[in-house]
Each structure stands twice: as C-alpha cells, then as structure tokens.
C-alpha cells in the first residue's frame, strides 16, 4: 500500500528525515516510536503534504501512485487520514457543515454523486454511535472549546466518516486519560479491516496495549534504526532509548 524509499525532508532548511525507508501492506499496523526530535511528526506532515516541509530526496508510492505529486486534499481523497496531535479549532464552521463538505469532496473525487441530506445524516448517526461521539459535540463548531479527549474523539469520528485506507495516528494518546484512551482505541480497532493499514506514532507503550501493532519501528535522527514485533515496544518502555547512544 505504502512504500517510502530513502526519504529526506527538511523544514526551514534544516534536514529532519535523513534516508527513511518504510513499507506498509494492507491489514498491517505499524507503530513508530522514538525520542523527541527524531522526526516522528515530520513523517506524518510529509505524508500528508504539509506546505512547510520540503522533500529533498527519495520517493513515496501510495497504492501505485506518486504521493509527492499530489496536493494535500488529493492525498486525503486518495485515502490518507491524519489524526492530528493538536486538532485545530475552527470557530464558526459547524461539524455537520465541515463533514458534509469533506465527504462530498471525497465522493466527487471518486466519481460519485453527493450524498443526499437524509443519507448524510444517517451516516453521521451511524459513525457517531461507532466511536461514542456525543450529539452535543457534533452540533458545535469544529473542535471549538473541546477538551483534549473530545478533540481526539472527534478525530476518530472524522476518520470513521471518511473511511481512509491509511490512517496515521500522531500522538493520539497525548492528553488522554485511560478511559478516553480506551474509547479512542476501540474506535480505531472497530474501523480496522483487512484492506486498511495504520501508522501509530506514539511516545508511550500504553496505547499499544489497546492498538496492537504488527511492527514496531524506532525512529532516531531521521532514520528507522530498529524494527521488531510488538515486544520491542515493551523493551523500549523498560530500557528507554539508551541503546541509541552505543
């Protein structure tokens, strides 16, 4: 599904990713861990096409297409979803209006008719139930005045609405208490299919108790320096990243 080859990327002239390689197949969950400043968030920003980052070398092939040639919205419509570490508040834009626009722009890209109002509302109801999203929240402006947990749940709700093939969860656990974490993880697991894949970027092992990865990668100094199974996360939790200095 996704193939990243020798990826170099920089922001404001500073190189952050320095030759990153990663291959992700359908049905797989990949965790990316690593110390602060290793390039974890840069990876999610580059995958989604954030304008502040420049790719200086390498390639990214997503479902047979050159991802780096696509605008951010086309990448999203092709099936890449980022659950933001810090979801943005958009005062005055209601979640309903936001999601209707998003779903219909994706459908148009796929050559489908816009959803009828009744079908759209039915889809909203269905997905709200799936991720345990409160009706009170969907009547408000996007993320405005939401608590940390509510923002993360809204991310997962949007993910359910857009049904991406590849979802990137960037520090989805930050700012969540254990109950909120469990609910968000259950939502993510409920959306998993043999055709989808996920990248879970996290500092801590605890999220991986709920979203169990097939592979764990350690990102350090702009490269993946170690790859293992889920047991690697436990080892990192116990021993930290001291091995990187050897």
């Amino acid at each position: 599904m996704l193939e990243i080859k020798n990826l170099h990327a920089s922001i404001a002239g500073k190189e952050i990713l320095k030759g990153l390689n990663l291959t992700i197949n359908e049905g797989e969950v990949h965790a990316i861990m690593g110390p602060n400043g290793a390039g974890k968030s840069t990876l999610s920003n580059v995958l989604t096409g954030h304008p502040a980052y420049t790719v200086t070398e390498g390639e990214i092939i997503f479902r047979g297409k050159n991802l780096l040639e696509m605008t951010p919205e086309v990448r999203a419509r092709e099936g890449i979803f980022l659950s933001f570490q810090y979801p943005v508040e958009i005062p005055g834009v209601s979640i309903v209006n936001f999601m209707r626009t998003a779903v219909n722009e994706k459908r148009q890209h796929e050559g489908k008719e816009p959803l009828k109002a009744t079908d759209f509302l039915k889809l909203m109801r269905e997905k709200k139930a799936l991720v345990g999203m409160d009706n009170k929240l969907t009547n408000r402006s996007v993320n405005e005045g939401f608590s940390g947990g509510e923002k993360k749940r809204n991310e997962i709700f949007q993910m359910a609405m857009l049904e991406p093939c590849l979802s990137i969860l960037d520090e989805t656990d930050s700012g969540l208490d254990i109950d909120a974490l469990r609910i968000v993880a259950e939502g993510v697991n409920a959306l998993k299919t043999p055709k989808t894949a996920s990248i879970v970027i996290t500092h801590y092992q605890r999220l991986l108790d709920y979203i169990v990865p097939d592979f764990v990668h350690v990102l350090a100094n702009g490269k993946i320096v170690r790859t293992g199974g889920k047991e690697l996360a436990l080892e990192l939790e116990a021993n930290g990243y001291a091995f990187l200095n050897n």
């Binding site: 989604t48 304008p51 999203a76 943005v88 958009i90 005055g92 834009v93 998003a102």
Partner: protein, 219 residues
C-alpha cells in the same frame, strides 16, 4: 454625491430602531439616543459588480439618556480596486449605557480599507459598558487596511474593551481542512463565511440569505 448633508435622527425614550446600510457611498448619520432607547445599525460593503466602488461612511451616535443600548455591526468584503472607509463615533454622555461594535473586513486584490473608531465615555457616564472589536483579513499583498481605534474614558466606574487585529487566513485551519479532503479554495470560503457570521447572524433571516448569497458570488 459631493457635499452630502448629515442625516440627523433622535430616538425618543424607549424607542427601538434598526438600520441597515448596504453599499451606501456617502453616508453621514448623527443619531441621538434618549433614555432606554435601542439602536442597532448594520453597515455592509459588498458588491459583486461595482469593482471600483469607493464607500465613505460616518456614523455618530450619542447616548444622551440613561440605559441606552447601541449595537453597531459592520462588514466589508472588498475585491478588485474597491475602497471602504468607515468612521464610527460613539459618545456615552450619560451613564448606565451599553454599546458594542463588531467590525470585520476582508480585503483582496488592490483594495483599501480604513476604520477609525472614536469611543468616548464622558465624566457623567458612570457604569457604562462599551466594547469595540475590529478584525481584518488580508487576502492579498497589495491590499491595505488602516485601523485606528480611539478610546477616551473620563469616568472611573466603567467596563470597556477594544481590540483590533489584521492578519491572514489561519494556515493551520486551512491545512487541517485540506487533510479532510476539502480543497484549499473551498476551505478558504468556509473560513471567510465563518469570519463574517458574527455580523451576519444579527440580520433578519431574509437579509441573511441575501447577504450570504452575495458573499458566495464574490468568493
């Protein structure tokens, strides 16, 4: 129209008045409020076709009786070489009154705008509450907005605030919306409509619909 004369009106005790000025090119109004009166004024600059329009508007409101309420809402969505220049002068001469001003401008292309807001709370106007907010978004490097809030407060027991900002569209919000499949242009439109909502939502339903349609056509 040159040398336009000043329109004077007085709101009598307890009177309510709502005025909407849409694309008035030389308005100059002086409104005196007596006690317990309510005034709401909308000043709107948005024309799709008159691409060289130059609007000058002056509004002077004096609260001469106790417990008056004044609400001023203004918006401009300027494109091509349009210009809009707005002066508001709100004087609280007597205490116990309330005034709020929300003024929002979006400037594209080579447009110019200015807002000067003179808000005065005189010594006799204790327990006045007065607010003024001016927010502007520049969509082009050639667009220019001058904003001059002027507060003069001569009474000590008052609640007053003012704020003026000029900036660009929120880049992080635009990227967030693009990550949700929404094109950059559509995202910008949603943000601009949201920006004006605070002004538009205080109009009648019929006027709201008309203004929203015009905004849609311009964007």
């Amino acid at each position: 129209m040159l040398n336009s004369s000043i329109q004077h009106i007085t709101l009598s005790i307890g009177e309510k008045c709502e005025l909407v000025f849409l694309n008035e090119s030389d308005m100059d109004w002086h409104i005196v409020q007596e006690a317990d009166s309510f005034l709401r004024v909308h000043i709107l600059f948005l024309s799709e076709n008159d691409v060289t329009a130059q609007w000058q508007s002056k509004l002077f409101v004096e609260q001469n009786g106790a417990n008056c309420r004044t609400e001023i809402y203004a918006m401009g969505l300027l494109h091509d070489t349009q210009q809009a220049h707005l002066l508001t002068r709100v004087y609280h001469n007597i205490g116990g009154g309330y005034s709020s001003q929300i003024l929002k401008f979006v400037l594209n292309d080579q447009t110019k705008g200015s807002f000067r807001g003179e808000l005065k709370i005189l010594p006799n106007a204790q327990q006045t509450e007065a607010h003024q907010t001016n927010r502007n978004i520049l969509l082009s490097r050639q667009a220019d907005m001058l904003t001059e809030p002027q507060l003069e407060i001569y009474a000590d027991d008052v609640k007053a605030s003012h704020g003026a900002t000029t900036g660009q569209l929120d880049e992080s919000a635009l990227f967030y919306m693009q990550q949700r499949c929404i094109s950059h242009d559509t995202a910008a439109k949603l943000l601009l409509e949201a920006f004006f909502n605070e002004v538009i939502s205080t109009l009648s339903d019929e006027q709201q619909e008309q203004i929203r349609e015009t905004i849609h056509r311009i964007l």
